[in-house]
């Protein structure tokens, strides 16, 4: 157990990513996220933040180097195992990626249903969380029929409902007013305090200044620390 605690939750060695024949978007990335850490990820638009996160949430495999998530080399891991690894990761997508035809409730319940949790237990958990992100009154509305900020909160609720070990948030406060942004940050911090490793991609200097956690910057395909 002691060894595991020091084992990084994500480990990248010489990782590179390119789309098709285009020049590499990311190259030679060597970095490890320690269990329980919280990082901001910055960089200009198009720098590759979403691309980097998408490898971490196992939607793509690196085209160069090795990526280990929870100790598994993702390039050598079979489909079903990858699916089970993904259940330990919560993702807030930049474009939310809610299932539009489902209600807010069903979207947030999804990770629990995948696990096969009992519906009664699901209802308790989902309703409690939705009340906290102030979506309780909209929970049976189709998720295509709520506002951008509400979608963002629904997406965050879906990402955290399962108490993920790794939380990857792509611009999670981009569509909400600063009051709700603060509240969502508090949620991330609380999860981090409980042991979740958190990576937040953001452009918001305000957010980074207010919460002085380590910052990583993507530039020209390389990942560096910001002093």
């Amino acid at each position: 157990m002691a060894v595991r605690e020091f084992e990084p939750i994500v480990e990248m060695k010489n990782v590179g990513l390119s789309y098709g024949d285009n020049p590499a978007v990311l190259s030679n990335i060597d970095f490890a996220f320690r269990r329980g850490s919280l990082h901001f990820l910055t960089g200009k638009s198009g720098a590759g933040k979403t691309s980097l996160l998408s490898m971490l949430y196992l939607a793509q495999k690196p085209t160069e180097g090795t990526l280990k998530v929870f100790g598994s080399n993702v390039s050598l891991t079979d489909r079903d195992t990858l699916a089970f690894l993904r259940r330990r990761i919560g993702v807030v997508f930049q474009d939310f990626r809610l299932l539009d035809h489902l209600s807010v409730f069903d979207n947030v319940a999804l990770p629990l249903r995948l696990k096969g949790m009992k519906e009664k237990e699901i209802r308790h958990r989902v309703i409690e969380l939705l009340a906290w992100v102030e979506l309780k009154d909209n929970m049976y509305v189709k998720s295509s029929e709520i506002s951008g900020g509400e979608k963002q909160r629904a997406a965050i609720a879906r990402a955290v409902i399962n108490r993920p070990e790794l939380l990857l948030a792509d611009e999670p406060t981009g569509n909400v007013d600063s009051e709700i942004a603060q509240k969502l940050m508090k949620l991330f911090l609380e999860l981090n305090r409980l042991g979740t490793t958190v990576v937040i991609a953001t452009h918001s200097n305000e957010l980074m200044e207010r919460y002085p956690y380590p910052r990583l910057k993507l530039e020209n395909g390389a990942l560096t620390y910001v002093k």
Partner: protein, 325 residues
């Protein structure tokens, strides 16, 4: 700074009033006002209609063809039983009327004593007359015409009856007597029926192949339409099996309803065809028995088609998913 935010968050949580916590619990116990939707929806448009129509038509055609095959089988079983238990003997006339008569009496006498023969009856002249009237007109004296006589012979031991020996010994009695070999006729009928059955089986295989192709096609297009949903499900941690079962559940429900509709539409058609067949067989066969057993096959068709739909869809979805993320 971050620490005091966490502190505040804890306060927030602790500050959630007891009353509102109870309210949330109450809310969780209530039944949701809307029905839970499938995570991977079937396409509302063409694909859905396409599957419904294809499955319904396939089951309809299957039911009709199957009832045809079963009906033929039943007819054949009956005719086999009947034909084998009687046959006809033809005695050709001799130039002389008296000779002919004697010959006929000899043959009848021989047959009546032959083992396993139960009854020998001569087709009467008036019966012959009736048969020939359309060709010869009404006022011909049949006695004077050199017309072959027909004997109807009923036998007991139908299965083991040796026609060859009988034929050999009959020719010793009269050079003009010959057996109308029903077995020959029967074997021709059998061949004809078998080729009908082959044809029916071919039709069934083609119908099944068309239905399977339709389902594969619909499942593939359906998945392509819902690529985004599938990739979201994958990213959240759904296995291929979970997604496939989700889809199969939807498509199976639909296929079952379509199958029931197809079978229901086929039922009256089968009854009508059955009645028509009874009209035909009256002269040739005893009866067509399309009984409870046969109807059971027809009732099973929607279930079988649903199982086939489910299996086809499952395999297609799993295969298609592997080609995706």
């Amino acid at each position: 700074m971050a620490d005091d935010v966490i502190e505040k968050f804890r306060e927030d949580k602790a500050a959630t009033p007891k009353a509102s916590k109870a309210k949330l619990k109450e809310l969780a116990r209530q039944k949701p006002p809307v029905e839970r939707k499938a995570e991977l929806p079937l396409d509302e448009g063409y694909a859905k209609t396409f599957i419904k129509v294809t499955v319904a038509v396939a089951v309809f055609l299957f039911a009709i063809t199957l009832s045809g095959v079963l009906g033929i089988n039943a007819m054949f079983e009956n005719s086999k039983r009947q034909v084998v238990s009687n046959f006809t003997v033809q005695v050709l006339p001799k130039p002389n009327y008296e000779e002919s008569r004697q010959d006929l009496l000899n043959v009848v006498g021989f047959l009546e004593k032959y083992p396993d023969v139960v009854q020998v009856s001569v087709l009467s002249d008036s019966e012959l007359h009736a048969l020939l009237e359309p060709w010869l007109g009404g006022n011909v004296d049949i006695e004077l015409l050199p017309i072959p006589k027909l004997l109807d012979v009923k036998i007991d031991n139908a299965k083991g009856f040796d026609y060859k020996t009988l034929a050999a010994r009959l020719s010793e009695v009269s050079a003009e007597a010959s057996i109308n070999d029903h077995n020959l006729w029967l074997s021709r009928l059998l061949k004809f029926i078998n080729s009908l059955k082959m044809l029916a089986v071919t039709v069934l295989v083609l119908v099944a192949a068309a239905a399977i192709t339709a389902i594969v096609f619909a499942a593939k297009t359906g998945l392509n339409v819902h690529k985004e949903i599938i990739s979201i499900l994958h990213v959240i941690g759904a296995t291929d099996k979970y997604i496939a079962l989700n889809y199969v559940k939807e498509i199976s429900k639909m296929s079952l309803l379509a199958g029931i509709a197809g079978a229901a539409a086929a039922a009256p058609a089968i009854v009508i065809i059955g009645d028509m067949a009874k009209g035909i067989e009256a002269g040739i066969f005893n009866s067509v028995s399309f009984g409870a057993g046969e109807w059971l096959y027809i009732l099973l068709l929607p279930l079988i088609s649903t199982a086939m739909t489910a299996l086809t869809a499952y395999l297609t979805v799993v295969k298609t998913l592997r080609e995706m993320m």
